[in-house]
């Protein structure tokens, strides 16, 4: 068996220890004689798994009792509908457009009320976070929505905008648990698991309890109502049990690494190794405005499409895979989430140096 360094934007690398443990427990979870996949979601063993996952996540985030943690299905895409159907009380919301995912969320919200784009960096091909220092918010808006880390473009909000008292709703799929976060500054956070915390098929939603409405219009599908899932501890229907189990293992792994503070240090250093090289390279350059650079997704280009393609191909031959950039940006993108070891980034930079020597 030879593992590659997988720079995929998601689904993405998971900690090898987590995979090893899961393989070992596949036929018999801790002596109960069955796989977690085979286990009733109403069993005490599974209740223990989901409870521990939630407790560990709460501990990592230092989460107060004012917030509910939900493990749901349908990914971020389903949250794009759940957020407005559940949170638009007055029928309006403001959106900051920083990329394709924020835009999709905005378009979905328009189905359910008045959704206004209050800032956008579309004209800069989303290579920066727009100025949000004094947003012209809609008075009756129920929340301000943003996508905190933009997977495709490699930008990140390093400061939250002033929402003027309105709850901030953030898609944190691609930066979740990559550094400490003050959840109290948000009304709702959600993260598709398949980037930093587990396999696709689980989305974690953290919602301030006072935002969970029970008086939703009759026409909101039951499965799209937060209160239904909150009242049932994410067990209204059969949840994605195996995915939740893997997420729980990743939470434990993060704790064992030293928690979010330690992740922050590792991620800052890891991203620094790559950005430092990009800043000195004569061949490669980053595509994002410096102050908006993400630590998780690093897009870069040579400026020559053929050379980019050669790079991606040769890198793959060295076990550095999935470096092709998103078609809307072109070039390359290295996604270096929590589970990407420093050695992977160092190997990438080494190969970039070699490629630069050979191709200048």
């Amino acid at each position: 068996m030879s593992r590659v360094y997988n720079f995929s934007a998601g689904p993405a690398m998971l900690p090898q220890e987590v995979l090893e443990q899961s393989a070992k427990e596949m036929l018999d979870y801790q002596g109960c004689g069955m796989s977690v996949m085979e286990m009733s979601h109403r069993s005490s063993v599974f209740q223990g798994i989901i409870d521990k996952a939630q407790q560990d996540l709460r501990k990592l985030l230092n989460l107060s009792d004012e917030y509910e943690v939900l493990f749901l299905q349908g990914g971020a895409s389903q949250q794009f509908a759940m957020v407005p159907t559940n949170l638009m009380k007055q029928g309006a919301a403001d959106y900051i457009i920083t990329g394709q995912w924020a835009k999709k969320a905005w378009q979905e919200a328009k189905k359910f009320g008045k959704a206004t784009a209050v800032a956008s960096s579309q004209e800069q091909n989303f290579s920066e976070i727009p100025d949000c220092s004094n947003l012209n918010l809609t008075p009756e808006a129920d929340y301000l929505y943003l996508c905190e880390n933009n997977t495709i473009y490699g930008t990140k909000f390093w400061e939250l905008p002033d929402s003027k008292g309105k709850p901030i709703v953030a898609d944190v799929s691609s930066c979740f648990l990559s550094q400490p976060v003050d959840v109290n500054r948000y009304g709702l956070l959600f993260a598709g698991a398949q980037k930093n915390i587990g396999p696709a098929g689980v989305v974690v939603v953290i919602i301030r309890k006072d935002l969970i409405r029970t008086d939703l219009p009759e026409t909101v599908p039951t499965m799209l109502q937060y209160h239904i899932h909150a009242e049932n501890g994410s067990l209204y229907n059969t949840p994605p049990c195996y995915g939740i189990y893997i997420c729980g293992k990743v939470f434990q792994w993060i704790e064992a690494q030293g928690g979010l503070k330690a992740m922050e240090e590792k991620n800052r250093y890891k991203a620094g190794v790559l950005y430092d090289f990009l800043d000195e390279s004569k061949l490669f350059k980053g595509t994002v405005r410096r102050q908006d650079r993400s630590w998780m997704n690093v897009p870069f280009v040579t400026g020559d499409a053929q050379l980019d393609a050669d790079f991606v191909k040769q890198a793959a031959q060295k076990g550095l895979v999935n470096l092709k950039g998103h078609r809307t940006v072109g070039g390359m993108r290295a996604s270096i989430y929590n589970a990407m070891p420093l050695e992977g980034v160092e190997a990438l930079v080494e190969f970039m140096k070699q490629f630069e020597r050979e191709n200048r």
Copy 2:
């Protein structure tokens, strides 16, 4: 490691070979250097996995090109909303009420139009399938809905009702792939994976293509529109990749067992061993009208709640676990899906005989 015989109603037993293969491939799927959990859903390797899963399922079902196969999230519960929002063209549908799940589907449908219960066995505590020989269908109904195998009550439709030309929509979660089926008799079938085909978090939808509408009302969430998923080959958003991979392995396992014909023979024989004993026992008796008995879920009682509890407890000590019946039926329930080996049912009957000798 010692595996138990797990009679859980779902999530439920999976074939041991499938779990063994999955454990082996956990860190490196067929030499690609990563787990299926870590793999981009846009990669050619994952495309191969989902394509093969679909092809194998089509082959098992001998499915014509008139039907689309979708791998979705949200389970049967989300289908309860998707079915009416997508299929109610004239705003009406008829439901046959054979248990809690059919009832939930009916109640959900009422959010979106006129949903009429045209038959029910509620007064018999759902211990039988109601007479459906001449249903009084609503003229403008867009479909006739039924739950083909009732997991909680252990009943099954052994004949489909005459739907008088209207498409039949069936929840087949707990009998999917347990025997050959003529899909051409249905407009839409769906099955939560966690009973006969894989882990929770995947629901398979098979829909006749002419029923897939693109002219849905603006207010239907994008993720709840069948045409979106159909147009994108179940890859509109990141699907539950790992679950689909396991389902694919189960489809291959069924094929290797001899396909649905072979499953039917095994399941008939397995269920027969248990029902034959129930019919001759002086202590235990089945709760379902004979002609409506399910091969997948077999509820039975002693008539004495304390004795039932003792049985469940002692059985568990023998490695026969999750035999407690649903609270609405009481007593015991043995779920004996495809992956339950004959030896498991024989061990159960042996223990029932012993218990009967000791407790009469």
